[in-house]
Every structure is written in structure tokens, then in C-alpha cells.
Point group: D2
């Protein structure tokens, strides 16, 4: 049983149905009937007027957001273990034309206002040093931790005071919302977020994420950047349709809740082995190499996360039946 | 009836079936069972060992190819009306980090060896001028003209002599092959082509093209560039599966042949109105504004192509029944 | 005697004296006493508040200006024979991160409002095509032609209407002003120019040009871009001092006038051989290969300018005595 | 008395004399008599065939070197406090088109082989992470520490084993050589260095550094990159002449020795206040805010280097007479 990545999971049947339903003649690029519904659908969801673009990958969505918020000569404050820094092969640098990631620390890959202030304070305000222009956080974080609306708002305050654009990498935004039970609006623009990469692929989608601009004027240049990066699909309706399917009847929230439940089940079984509180669909365990080997011998697959640790990710389609054997195996270690 | 773009057409049912079949757990990115078959499948098709990457859009495939062939300070010789110059919003400049497109002319958007030589001859070999490093042609061209294997080889000769990487934009490669009845190998690497953007989306695919490197060593850096451009999909099997479905039983060739047949039918009806010989699935007609209006009044949709001209594109799914009414309407003008 | 480039000439003695005078301890970069005088000096000269930066080369000044006026995904309208297009090895593409030069034509390397409008009109206002965002002209042009204040203003009108930033490459701005006898203000911002590369090197300087922003707010980002491009010299006072020396007592104008006079002398001698009216310090002659050889045999050096043509450039330090023999040799051909 | 930067110092009289001597007609750019001597002069100095380019600033020299050694999608290992990371406003990112600086630590801003290995070991060899492609060290370091030939060679070993290009930022290379008494060859290519930014400006030059390629083939692309960055000066002879003047009769070494002697004098006076051993022309002192104020009240100017520390830099033109009062003031604190 695979627990190494929610990217490995299948797409939800509703997504495939949506593709089939969209499989007819329509206008190319984003002039079709599905793409035109996105702004409305997301504006409803976020209770404010937003501009939204379908983007095929989270990496592209994140990088396009950063390019909209930070000039080539600026810096983006983020956590040292942020996906944009560690796992995107320099995509932010590519899309921003060489902006610098200004790395900070914090437990569970979370940034605090103080940490952001410390980065700013350490930079001389002269032309010799890259000046911070944007702040990027991941919610839920790379360690499955959720920023609360209050925590987001506190960072939004710093961003505003320092003149930083504020981006949220929401590859697992759904899991954060599901965990917190808050409104998407409270977790984003009400706390000062300017742009959100809203992930669907890890959550039952196939290849469509959404980039949401809460300051609609930021979208304009991004339309050109998206095209220029080869991300304006000629049959864009197949991306829009996926997203609409995920939004319909809160499928995105249901899927995330299911994955979170699975993770909670494992967390319960793991007890003192937990490295981080489980607030999304990821579980980080202390396990010896021997223990890890025993779990694998039982057919469970997962990532080693440095020596003595393992990462297990639960997907939308892994229900209690799927999780239970692993939970028991962990408890039995 | 829409004749304005083959991008508007539906995806072939086999492509959707392939998506459904691929909709199960597998390794993320391009480590899955489908992606791993691509090199073999394309090596068979091209009768030589190739490296192949799935890429979601033709714009990205073209630009990644050019980035592999041309340094940031180099130039890419192409036709003034090439898609890479006119319709990709500067994507080649983005991916190559500012290489310059060196524009040339030629009937039907075709470049001749003499035209390429003329571009080279007009550039002083000093550091003040951008030196040509690559040659890019489109086959079939933006005007639906096909380069023959001999014509490709003649350009390949120039490229070799001048030290130029040689790229073929094959958004409608299938239509060219179908028209010429030649082997894919003869139309590409045997004529000196280094990299081919092999299009599937206009030909019944959904969102997967292939970038083929006939010099396998060129692929290495491109793997990083693809990731960095946000084009490494986490569920890459859904792209690979589309391509494999298109390759199976020569579906790519059947679809292109069907579209070509439709175009030939229109060409016959158009007679002296033809602006370009019809060698693929595009038909360019001389029509007055009044005539264009009359066709539209009958329900036919297409692009105006400057004053007095119209472009009609036939898709893989438009059979004789679909084409016949338009052919008759054109003949009756 | 060398007539092939005003770049080959010596620096004016006043410039060397200024270097010597500046050769003492001061603050590094542009915090020194000389650099701080630039804004005032240029604001006086241009009769309006400007921001000015010393830049060592015209290529860098031009490219920094374009980067200030045009986003990476935009286009810069310029003449097909503009220095920025032909002779800077893609520097504008480098500094702007891949903006496209949109080439137009016009006699004597001059753009007309109609030509600019035609470029704009030929571009579909959609994301597939690079949208024009800036206009760049050279004054005096690459063929030694001067735009008058009225001509500049007419282009400024178009730029304003089309939302284009307006840049003037003034590598030979001094020669244009000397020829026209107008005020620097009339030839620039009063006609809508936003940024001027004010050349000194071809006119008796050593290695200092000025980049003038008539919209002071444009300078801010350029300070970072200058540093980032390695163009913020640590001993910047040696650049500022050169410029101040050139501005003092209108040395810049005197030098240009001297060079223009020399060119006028040659023009007179050349008569019907002139390819372009002589309005600056460049003379383009119709000469056969044999005639060119005869001139060279007499010790005159110059550029061939394609078959049957020669370019002669007069420098600030070539007085009548230096010119006369060439004028006679031309007359005697 | 200013001790805050060797950039603030005057240029050596021999440099000004060289400028005066070069102030006559010659070929533009780097086709002149002075520029042509550089390769020979540096090949002599380094006892091997090198290619050398004049570059006006250290920032540009460093960045051009890195662009020659590292692709846009690669990483450059350097010290966290390296000038290229901290004080060049993202110039390396600009010139390399977005390569990432991979930061490491080490006492006195020195990298050890183990530290470099640790960076490499921490990076998964897949396309999701930026792969190290180059190593850059500063000699003497930002804290005035000198790498010995053995230390350089040990790093060169790692670079070779890991396939990393090896760059040395030699803004104060002269000071390191003067301190070590070794040959320039031993400190560079014999230890595996591929490219050296050889600084002259901090050492008595005006605005000319040299970029030395010990693998001559690396120079070719850099010639284009230099032009494209606006760093090919039209009157390049004024840069070449400065460098030749500095090389003549080992002026570069004499100047550096003089500055080092001054620093040694201060070091002696400072005793236990020294934060770093003094191996070049920089002295880092522990001083309280009050002590710093007292020194400043006596007319000595310098940088605060965080709380409780001061940086003093001695220039080539500060002889014992100039230094003695400061040494005494420090001793008297």
C-alpha cells in the first residue's frame, strides 16, 4: 500500500466524468464555457471578487504568483523547507527572472511574524542587498501543519507593514481548511493574502490547480506570463472542468476531510512517535531503520525523511479500511 | 460548424479511455509505467534511439527544444510567420533567456536553404551581433504546407554547415507525414533534425505533446528545464497515456489523414480561391468580406486571415458528412 | 587617418583633468560629491527635475532604460536598423528578461508615427502576441539623421495614446542638438520622452554615459537593476566627474558641433555621393570598391557599409585640418 | 581618516598615467593595442596559457564567471557571507538566469572541503532539486582570511570529484598572494580553479578588473555575455591600460603588501580585540559602541559590523604614517 505521496493517487471519478462531459467542441484556450465559470465559482467560494486562472501544476502556480508579486531584483521570504525553495528546481527563480528566496526558520515549516521581521531587519536597505518584496507561506505546510486564520492575519500585518506581497502555497489548502473548519476567506484574503495557489491535484484532481488573485489587478500580467511559460493550454476546458468538478458540492473539502481522517487515525496509532502534530494528511514518524524495514516488509511504502524518520501521506481515496492495517502495524512496532 | 481551429475539437475517445485506464495508483511525475514506455515507443516509430518527454503544450515543447539548442546569447532562424515568433507571446525568449528570433521569409511560411544562408550571411561574425545558433521550421507550416524529406535534408545540410541546432515544430507533424506518405524518420533525423515537437493536441489529444530528441544527450538538461518551468506534472501518467493511445495502431496517422482528406475536399471545392496549395488540414481561401459573411450566415465559423482571406482548419473528427456542406457552400459562392 | 568610429577617438583633455581632480578619497559607489551633483546638473540642462544615473556604456544605458519601460512579456518598437536591435548582442533582451523588439522601417533609420501605428495595428490585442509597451528611437539616428522636436513630439503623441514608454537612444544626442540648435528639453521630455541615454563617450568622454529619467519615479527600480548588472562602480566618482566635465561650459555641445562641422565639410565635398542628408557627424557615401580602395590607399580608414557604400564618422577632435585632405580626396574621386 | 573601504581610496598615479598614455586614437572595443596584451601578460603571470577579459567591476566579473560555470538550472556553492550572496543584489542570479546560491558556513567566511561535501550530500540527485554545478570561494575572504594553496587544492579536489566548476572571487586576490608569498599559479589553477575574478580596483585601480579563465575555452561564450551585459566598453583600451599598469613591475603586489602591512600594524595594536586573524588588509575588532564612538571622535571612520564589532579596511595608499595614529588610538582604548 502506497503512502509516499498524494500525487500517486488516482483522480476522483467525478473528475474523469467532467473530462468526458467537456469533451466536445468549444472555443480554444480559455475562451470556453468552463473556463468562463471559474471567476464566478471562486468568487462565491471566497466571498469576494477574485480573478482565477487554471494552471496545470502547483509549481507553475506558485511561480506565477511570485512573479506577480516580486520584481526580478527582489526577494521572497519563505521557510527554509518550503516547497518553492527545496523541491521546484529553481522554478521561482526562473519565473521571476532571478529573484532571491530569503530563507527563514520555524517549527513545522511554519513562519512566525517575528521570523519574517528578523529577515527584514537583517537586510540593509540599500541597492547592494536584495530587498524583500514578497512573503510566501505554505498552508498546510510541508510538515502537515496548518496556519490558523489568526496566524495568517498576523503575517499579513507584517507583510502590509513591510510592503511585501503575500502568497500562500495551497497545494494542501483543502486539508488546512478541512482541519481548521474555517472559511476559505478567513484563511486567505481576510488575513492579507494576495495570491493563493489552490491545489487540486493532490486532492483528487488530475492536472489542474487554480491560481487565485484576491487583488484582481494582479491577474492581468499573469495572463501573459502564463502564455509565455507554455501554460495556456489550447484545450483549457479540460482543466477548468476538473476544477469545477472539484468545487461542486464541496468535493474538494470532502476529499481533504477523508485524507485528514486517515492521517488522524495513523496519528492516534503513532502516539509518541509523532514528530509533528497532525493537522492535515501527512504523518511524520520516528522510526528506526529496522522498524521502517518491517513496515515495508508488510507492504507499506513511504518516504524515509532523513535518518530515523518517515513521512506517510494519506490520499483522498484511502478510507479507514485502507488505513487500518497500517495503523495497526505502527501500533505494533 | 466550427472550422477556426483544430484546438477546438474534442479529444479522441481512445484518449479518454486511456485516461480512465491510467486512473490508478502509480509513481508520481514520470516514474510511472506509462511514462517509461515513451522512449521505446518513439524509438520504434522513428527507427532510431530517441529520448522523449511528454510536454503539455506545443508552446512549451517548442521553447524547451530551442532552449536545448540555443544559448541565451544566440539566435534562432525561423520564418517571419512562424508560430514561435508570432503566437507564443515570447515563450522562446522566456525559455532561452533572451535568445533572438532571426526572421526570414519564404512562400507558404516555408524557409529555403538560400533564405537561411542569407540570414547567416547578413550577420557579422562578431560579438556585437547575435549569432545564429539554431534553425526552427514548422512542418506542416502555419499555411498548411509540407516540407518534403528532401527539403528538410537540404535545410539540415545548411544547419550542419553553419553549426545550427535544428528544430522542427511538429504541431501538425502528423498531417505532414500523412500528406507525404513518408516515414517519420525520413522527415526528421535523417534530414538532420535534432529535436521535434510532436503535436498530438490538435490531432485528437487532450493535453499532451511529445518533445523528441534525436540526439539523446540533449534531453538531460531539458529534464531540469521542464521541472523548472512547472511542466513536470505530478501525475504524468495521464500525459504519457494519451500519447501512447495516439501512437497505438497509428491513431495519430489515421486522425491526421482524416483531417487532411477533409481539407482536400474543401480545396477541390475552392479551386482558384486557394491561396496556398493544401498539403495538410488547413485551407486558406480568397473570399470577399461579403462572401465570408455569407458563409458565416450559413453557420460556418472560421478565422479571417487579413482582408480578403479566410483560414479554415479541419479537425480529425470532421468527416465527409461534416465537410460536404461547407465544400458546397464554397463552391456556390 | 581614422574615420571608422567616434569610439576610436581620444578622450577630451578636460575629461582626463577631471579624473585627476577626482582622484582622492571619497565615498564609494555613488555616494560621492561628484555623483551627487548629477541630478542638479541635468535638471538645469533639461529645465525640469530629472533623475540621472551614470552608466559606463551606451548599451547598458539603453537596456536599463528599456527594462524600466517594458515588462519581460512586452515589446519595444524600434527601427530595424536601430543599434539596440543590430549591434548590442541581445542586451535589451538580457536586461528586460526577454522582451521582444518589434521592428519597423523608415528612411534614414527614422521612425514615423504612421510606422509606429502600423506596428501596433498589426498586433492582435490578445495574450498570444507580444504587446507593444515601449517605443525607442535613436537621435541622431544610426544614419546620422536628426529627429526634430516636432517629430519627437509626434511620436510622443502616439506613444501616449498607445500606452508606450518612450525611450531615446542619445548616443549622438549632442550631435542632434548641435545640428538642430534646439533646447535639450524640446528634443526630449517636452515631446514625451520618458528616458534618454545621453551619450558622452563618442563625444570626448572616456567611459561614462548618463541615463536620464524624465519621470523620476522610473529611476528607483533602475538603481537595483544597475547594481545587479554589475554597473554600479565602486569608484563611481570617476564616471560622474567625466560627465560633469562634459557638461561644464557646454563642452558636450562644442565637441559635437566640431564633429558636425567636419561632417558638413565632407558632405559638401561628396555632393551627389551622399546616401543620407548629413545632420550629425556621420557621412554615408556611394563609392565603388575601387574608389574605396583608392581612399584607403591614401591612408583614410572607414567602414564599408554594404556593397557600394562607405560610412565615415568624424570625431570631436578632427578639425578642419584633419578633414580637409579627406574632403579633397573624395572630391577628386 | 577613512578606513571604511578600500573602494574609497584614490587610484594609483601610475594608473592615471596609463590612462593619459592610452589617450589616443586606437581601435574600439577590445581590438586595441592594450587589450591585446592582456592574455600574454596574464599568461606570464600565471605561468600557463590563460584567456583574460577586462571587466569594469568585480560584481560583473564574478557573475560572468559564474554564468560560464553554471547553467540557469544549476546551483553555486558559496559561503553564506560571500560577497556574491550578500552584496551584489542578485547579480549572479541575473547573469546566470536564475541559478541558485547554495549557502554553507565556515569560520572567517572560509569554506572547507567537508562543508562543500555536506552541501552536495544534502541534495537529492533528482530534477526536483537544484543540483550543484559550481563552487565559488573568495580569496582573501570577506573577513580578510587567506586560503592557502593547499586549502584551495583540497577544495579543487572536491570540485573535480563532484563535477563543479571552480570560481575564485579575487577582489582581494593580491592581498592573499602578498600575505602567503606564494605564486599566483599555486593559488589558482594548480589547485583546480577554473576562473578568477582578479581585482584591481580595491588595490589602486580605477575601474578595471580582470576575469581570468584557466580553461581558455570558457572565455568564448563570455565574450558574448560581456557584450550583452553592456560591459564591452567602446574605449576598452582605458581598462586594459589600467590593468597593464598594475601588472607592471608588480605594482599590484606592492600595493597589496603596503595595505597588508598597515593591517598588520593595526592587528598588533588590537591584540585580543581581533575577531579574525589578519591575513589581508581587513581588520575586524571587538569594540563597544562607546569605544567606536571614541575612535570616530578622533576622526577615524569605519563600518560597524553588527553590535560590538567594527571593520577597518586599509588601502594601498595608507602608509605607516597614516596608520600609526589609529593603531595608537586602538591600543589606548
Amino acid at each position: 500500500m502506497r503512502f509516499f505521496s498524494d500525487n500517486a493517487a488516482a483522480a476522483h471519478p467525478a473528475v474523469l466524468e467532467a473530462l468526458a462531459a467537456a469533451n466536445r467542441l468549444d472555443t480554444a484556450y480559455d475562451g470556453d464555457a468552463w473556463s468562463k465559470q471559474l471567476d464566478g465559482a471562486f468568487s462565491d467560494l471566497f466571498e469576494t471578487k477574485v480573478r482565477s486562472l487554471w494552471i496545470a501544476t502547483g509549481t507553475a502556480a506558485n511561480s506565477l504568483a511570485l512573479a506577480a508579486l516580486c520584481p526580478p531584483f527582489g526577494g521572497v521570504i519563505c521557510h527554509r523547507e518550503a516547497h518553492i525553495s527545496v523541491d521546484e528546481c529553481g522554478a521561482p527563480e526562473f519565473f521571476t527572472h532571478g529573484a532571491k528566496l530569503l530563507l527563514s526558520d520555524g517549527e513545522g515549516a511554519k513562519l512566525s511574524p517575528a521570523a519574517v521581521e528578523a529577515v527584514c531587519a537583517g537586510i540593509r536597505p540599500d541597492v547592494h542587498q536584495v530587498q524583500p518584496r514578497a512573503l510566501s507561506i505554505t498552508n498546510a505546510t510541508e510538515y502537515g501543519r496548518a496556519y490558523t486564520p489568526d496566524e495568517v492575519a498576523a503575517l499579513g500585518e507584517v507583510a502590509k507593514r513591510r510592503g511585501l506581497g503575500f502568497h500562500m502555497d495551497g497545494a494542501r489548502f483543502a486539508n488546512a481548511v478541512a482541519h481548521l473548519g474555517c472559511s476559505p476567506a478567513d484563511l486567505t484574503w481576510r488575513g492579507g493574502v494576495d495570491a493563493l495557489s489552490f491545489g487540486f491535484v493532490k486532492n483528487g484532481g488530475m492536472n489542474a490547480e487554480a491560481l487565485i488573485f484576491f487583488k484582481p489587478e494582479l491577474a492581468e500580467a499573469t495572463l501573459y506570463r502564463r502564455k509565455r511559460a507554455g501554460h495556456l493550454f489550447s484545450k483549457g476546458r479540460f482543466l477548468a472542468a476538473q476544477i469545477l468538478a472539484m468545487l461542486k458540492d464541496e468535493l474538494w473539502l470532502d476529499n481533504a476531510s477523508a485524507a485528514n481522517r486517515g492521517a488522524a487515525l495513523l496519528a492516534q496509532a503513532a502516539g509518541g512517535r509523532l514528530i509533528h502534530p497532525v493537522e492535515a494528511n501527512e504523518v511524520f514518524l520516528r522510526v528506526t531503520a529496522d522498524e521502517a524495514a518491517r513496515l515495508r516488509a508488510l507492504g507499506f511504502d513511504f518516504y524515509d525523511w532523513g535518518p530515523g524518520a518517515a513521512r506517510l501521506v494519506i490520499s483522498w481515496d484511502q478510507d479507514e479500511t485502507a488505513i487500518r492495517p497500517l495503523a495497526e502495524a505502527i501500533a505494533a512496532l
